[in-house]
Symmetry: C2
Subunit: 344 residues, 2 copies
DNA sequence: AAGCTTTGCGAAAACCTTTGCGGAAAACCT
DNA sequence: AGGTTTTCCGCAAAGGTTTTCGCAAAGCTT
């Protein structure tokens, strides 16, 4: 078992020519005679030569690697986005190195360091829910290392980013609930400092406003994005004196957790409480009742993020383009029309 | 904006010493005086020096990359396994490069080629459902390139592999159904040539046998692993003259598809038809009714696969160790006890 | 035929690191 | 003092590729 891959040198030795000749012949360089070129290419083909990417990388000072940091890798939301990134990256001959922050700021910082050590050429990141300062990303910006955010972004950094129009989505959900007879619409939100929480809150408030409903602070609860915490948040809502007649959750984990909890406490969906969430197609239809939800264009988000990445890697100077993707509200049974209730 | 990373040469120039001195000082080589060592290390620290992995790779002829090929990246099953692989890989200082075959044999072959071009040091693979010959993997074996299979394996190749005990699981499910009053137990299987289909079929037959039930070939249907095909397979079962009173599906997609279809046709679960599948924890509990299922130790499968990989990369000579992980049957409402029916 | 351009190829540097070897100076020995 | 060992560091090669430069031979011109 000798060496696994052959090099230009091997080919050169076998043909009794120099390495540079072989290199040029393989690129159809005009300096090399047609005869020689053909001979060399034939042998390269036969020996199954492929250039050594490490040597190329060393020469060009590029690793063709993109560091991708996500809060969690095991959910459809992120894995689908990763697929989108991966597709575009592959088209550009790049790899992605995926690291999960597990929603931990500390791990996120370490991830950045490690990926930097590995000489990734840049980053595509979705912030962890804990991340409330951005020194580790500021450093990247200062060193002009390409950085793109998606979904959860940091506006101040002036970095290109792609997000879904959560504000519009929450407004739509709120109005949809109202149009189906709900008056007390509750919202389970994520950590307050996250941009997605803030945007969606705005949409929620706008929606209430347009429906002529008053904002009741009891109806908006925050939770971290774990299933346990989401259940607690739901319980909190269900223990209110003046209970909600509709609940929507800021992501799929929360939506499902709320559904479990609501059913567990014996409320009927949607008769007693309407439900909606931000989820993916498949699982929305498989739960009972099928869940009204806004579906993120996840794959497309990944694609756009990767495209932004390559823009900023090519143009050198980073822009701070923001791409806002529309979100669709898909109405299913969990938010069907309520019968009018007698006014109290 | 100069260069982003500094090299030994930069440090050497700044201190007026040779590159080799710097290199050795950073490794506390005894040839270098304590004074010099300290001076160099201090500067390296200050300048934030980290060795260039490409140069190291070139020198050692290793890329520290593992090619991972999965049929699909967007399901919990695979993403969880990938997490497991990733963890072990990271502990060894390796990256994983993930490629999805999308259940296509053609794409799988291309993936192998591309990863090979990228000089991955070896492969961790779950076969696509279409893969019925193994020339592209045989080539790897011939060249002694480390290869590990998980879940869907090819026995003939004599390659280390890790799988879940699907045979035991299907037997348990079958017996569980029987003990809960089911007599006509149907099984929606995957493509026949896959090892997991074969193993699970054996378990199914053994289970029937131990329960004293006859095997009715109408009750075992095959489908490819898409949701559409799974629905068709379910319809097929439901159109039988002598209908099944229990169905289990070979993976989570099929199980959920069956559930949708059964409910759509108006059958009650579990009163009319009991249901079970191979699924993950979370989604089993969120559907209605909660689905009895066998849960794969996915994360652990990934870990074990990666461990096998490193064994075969270190030992040089590849073993053909097979690791069989136990699977747990978790009983939920979808297979609750049936009332005894009058004997026909 | 002498001087010119063109053609076709090789040498060497560059990218960065490790490491065996050699070599100069210092320290030791008798 | 002369010889030997030790201490400390530099040279150079290796790993694979691209690319600038240079050089020889062949073709051309007049």
């Amino acid at each position: 078992m000798g060496k696994r891959h052959i090099s230009l040198k091997d080919l050169a030795k076998e043909l009794g020519v120099s390495i540079s000749t072989v290199s040029r012949a393989l690129k159809n360089h005009p300096d090399i005679s047609p005869d020689m070129t053909e001979k060399i290419q034939a042998l390269a083909e036969e020996r199954n030569y492929t250039p050594n990417p490490l040597a190329m990388g060393l020469l060009r000072q590029q690793t063709k690697m993109i560091g991708v940091i996500v809060p969690d890798i095991n959910t459809h939301f992120y894995s689908s986005i990763i697929s989108g990134i991966e597709k575009v990256a592959e088209d550009h001959g790049y790899f992605i190195v995926i690291t999960s922050s597990n929603e931990s700021k500390k791990k996120e910082i370490i991830a950045v360091q490690n990926l930097l050590k590995s000489r990734v050429e840049g980053f595509i990141v979705c912030l962890s829910q804990e991340t409330d300062d951005f020194a580790h990303f500021q450093k990247l910006v200062n060193n002009e290392i390409p950085l793109v955010f998606f979904d959860r972004v940091c506006e101040e950094l002036g970095v290109p980013s792609v997000l879904a129009n959560g504000q519009d989505a929450t407004k739509k959900i709120t109005k949809h609930f109202f149009e189906n007879g709900c008056k007390r619409i509750a919202y389970i939100s994520g950590p307050e400092h996250l941009n997605i929480s803030q945007n969606r809150k705005v949409g929620y408030l706008n929606g209430l406003n347009e429906c002529g409903l008053e904002y009741d602070e009891n109806l908006m609860v925050h939770c971290n994005l774990s299933i346990e915490d989401a259940k607690l948040a739901t319980q909190e809502l269900l223990q209110l004196e003046n209970k909600p007649d509709a609940i929507f959750g800021v992501n799929d984990t929360i939506a499902f957790a709320a559904m479990i909890e609501v059913k567990k406490q014996g409320y009927k969906i949607p008769e007693d409480i309407s439900l909606a969430g931000f989820t993916d197609e498949f699982h929305s239809t498989v739960v009972d009742p099928p869940l009204t939800s806004v579906s993120h264009p996840t794959f497309q988000m990944g694609e756009e993020a990767a495209k932004l990445f390559f823009e900023s890697i090519e143009k050198g100077k980073s822009n701070n383009k923001r791409i806002m993707l529309p979100i669709d509200l898909v109405v299913r049974e969990s938010s069907a029309k309520k019968k009018a209730k007698p006014f109290i």
